[in-house]
């Protein structure tokens, strides 16, 4: 990146960035504190951002704390990744009405909207890249996803603090945002290093006419992101994947995790890459019209494993094994990358705190050793 693609923005002037986005017609989705977590919602002012808040995450637990600092991006992430912006939890697909002797279906595309998302992390960008591959860059392009994706302007934040649940460094997806953003910010005390990653990002950066970044600040920003990677305590060892997980298909650890798993679907709902969906009809009482819509679904539901006349994944064990084997192993065969980006959301938001990195380590141990360390 050429030096002119960077600028320095004092934190106190952050509103200038929001104003520039508003002028360009963007709705701004920024991190904000709601119901005990940070979520992306429409914001207008700097004061809507979670200034001075930090998140604490561990398996099955999420808490916020106010530190009293002026830090804007002290929070790493909330329950949702970028997924809901492009793959909507409920997406109406068709309006269908009866006609004489048949029916007529009218596609219902979402309204195009320019949305600037502030605070996407490197893991979120990696998740979005995987969703793009599934919904846009495969042989079937999804027009609904495409409309939503087209309007996104992404302002990433490089992580300078890792949570105990983070393992992006081991997945090589973070903590530095390398591509897939329009602007990337690195918070260094009371300043932000702003870097453009696209033409639209460069235009906005020029419009802000920010002063150049002093070399020592560039170095300091890089050092903080490196330190964040170093500080990660969890890692996922994927060196022997996918084969090692296929070989572990009959491992006793699956029974152990099934005794803890609730099959509640939370891990798949918060996963940035899970893309399973179902479709439903919403007819009116007269049976003359119906809305055909797509909804988030999960491989942990009873119906997901139902094929004509039989449920192929009736037990919780079947479902957990299916999810993990797809996410970490067969995903690689299917899409050329792991289905895991190392964000750790499935660990935090599992109501009983099941840790996928821990389960994988146990599954990759020979059965005899595993039974020694198995918790029961």
């Amino acid at each position: 990146m050429a030096p002119e693609a960077r600028g320095i923005l004092p934190s106190a002037d952050f509103q200038r960035l929001l104003d520039a986005l508003h002028i360009r017609g963007y709705r701004i989705a920024g991190p904000t504190v709601r119901d005990g977590a940070v979520v992306w919602e429409t914001i207008g002012q700097v004061s809507d951002l979670p200034i001075s808040w930090r998140d604490h995450q561990e398996p099955g637990r999420y808490r916020l704390e106010q530190t009293g600092s002026a830090e804007i991006f002290g929070i790493v992430h909330g329950p949702q990744s970028l997924k809901p912006f492009t793959f909507a939890p409920r997406e109406p697909l068709l309006q269908i009405k009866r006609t004489q002797g048949g029916f007529a279906a009218q596609p219902k595309l979402p309204q195009p909207e320019k949305v600037a998302v502030i605070g996407a992390r490197a893991c979120d960008l990696a998740g979005l890249a995987i969703q793009d591959r599934i919904f846009l860059n495969s042989s079937y392009q999804d027009p609904y996803y495409a409309v939503r994706r087209e309007g996104l302007f992404i302002i990433a934040v490089n992580c300078t603090r890792a949570l105990p649940t983070c393992f992006c460094a081991s997945m090589d997806t973070g903590p530095r945002a390398k591509h897939g953003f329009d602007l990337a910010l690195t918070e260094v005390d009371d300043r932000l290093v702003v870097e453009a990653g696209s033409e639209a990002g460069s235009d906005l950066l020029s419009a802000l006419s920010l002063p150049p970044v002093p070399h020592n600040v560039i170095d300091e920003a890089a050092a903080r992101v490196d330190a964040c990677a170093q500080s990660q305590v969890r890692r996922l060892d994927h060196s022997r994947l996918p084969q090692a997980l296929y070989d572990a298909h009959e491992h006793p650890r699956w029974d152990d995790v099934a005794a803890r798993c609730l099959a509640c679907t939370n891990c798949t709902m918060v996963c940035p890459t899970c893309f399973c969906h179902t479709v439903e009809e919403t007819p009116d009482l007269t049976g003359q019209r119906t809305e055909h819509a797509r909804l988030w679904d999960s491989c942990f539901t009873q119906e997901h494993g139902y094929i004509h006349g039989k449920n192929v994944r009736p037990t919780i064990k079947d479902r957990y094994r299916m999810w993990m084997t797809h996410k970490l192993a067969s995903w690689v065969d299917q899409f050329g990358t792991s289905g895991c980006v190392g964000c750790g959301r499935c660990i935090t938001w599992c109501p009983v705190g099941i840790d996928l990195t821990e389960e994988l380590s146990a599954l990759l141990m020979p059965c005899e050793q595993q039974s020694m360390t198995s918790r029961q």
């Binding site: 005990g36 329950p79 005794a259 609730l262 007819p283 679904d297 999960s298 119906e303 009736p314 009983v352």
Partner: protein, 271 residues
């Protein structure tokens, strides 16, 4: 399960209940007019003094069976109905009054009533399905009016209504709610409770109390959802509920369902 598609006759019957599910029918508001067009609302004493005799194409049954008289009356409702659909936790699972199933009702009568000799009641509160064949069961305390409307729409269209056994968590996450159990540490029953309510309680920041009943699917027992044992263990070990609190958590509105009952009774032994 076929009903006449041209203005089928609807009857609404009450047993031991609070009337809240019948009120949910009345709360359909604008849709109630459309419902009145699509159906002949022939018997609904809570709504109208016009009461037509059976038979009925669709009978909605609210409430559980707590008296000998009601145990007899439900048989007559069954005989008059093509499709019998229970509405709500009482009719589907015995309701909150099924708490009596763990107590001695005779001693309660002595404590509560000045003249207990006038009280004629059974020792148990049981769901309708214990007494007669039930075609469809709607859960909830109260039912979700949208789900009721949808089931009636399906019956009118001649298709088998579909009732999901997904967890509340699925609906909760689709709504963009923050998980109350993970972010607030409250003992939410959402992970083992079936969806259909729209995750209404977590949307208001509180924990699900399981009014839509357990997520039992077509296959039941060890290894199948709901995994109440794991959730109860988390309530106790991480959320610091003492055994009696775990018992109370599972012994609520749907306490007498097989899976919630098994869980509460296993914790009762540790009290």
């Amino acid at each position: 399960m076929k009903v006449k598609q041209q203005r089928p006759k609807l009857g609404v019957f009450k047993f031991a209940s609070c009337d809240g599910c019948q009120l949910s029918v009345l709360n359909l508001e604008d849709d109630l007019l459309a419902l009145g067009q699509a159906l002949d609302i022939a018997y609904f004493p809570e709504a109208s003094s016009r009461m037509e005799a059976g038979p009925y194409d669709i009978a909605l049954v609210e409430g559980s069976i707590t008296t000998a008289e009601d145990a007899h009356r439900i048989r007559s409702v069954r005989e008059q109905a093509t499709v019998l659909m229970t509405i709500g936790a009482c009719a589907t699972a015995g309701g909150i009054q099924a708490l009596r199933n763990w107590t001695d009702v005779e001693s309660l009568k002595q404590i509560v009533y000045p003249s207990p000799q006038y009280i004629q009641t059974l020792g148990t509160s049981t769901p309708i399905s214990v007494h007669v064949k039930v075609d469809l069961e709607l859960w909830g305390c109260p039912i979700d009016k949208g789900q009721l409307l949808r089931v009636i729409t399906d019956l009118l269209a001649g298709i088998q209504p579909h009732l999901s056994v997904d967890s509340v968590c699925l609906e909760c996450k689709r709504r963009g709610n923050v998980c109350v159990m993970v972010a607030k540490g409250v003992p939410c029953l959402g992970p083992v409770t079936r969806s259909g309510c729209g995750a209404i309680c977590p949307s208001m920041g509180r924990d699900c109390y399981g009014c839509f009943g357990p997520t039992d699917g077509t296959l039941k027992g060890s290894g199948y959802p709901p995994n109440t044992a794991s959730l109860a263990r988390q309530f106790h070990e991480e959320l610091r509920l003492i055994p009696v609190e775990v018992v109370r958590r599972f012994r609520g509105i749907n306490g007498d369902t097989e899976s919630f009952k098994r869980e509460s009774e296993s914790w009762e032994k540790q009290m």
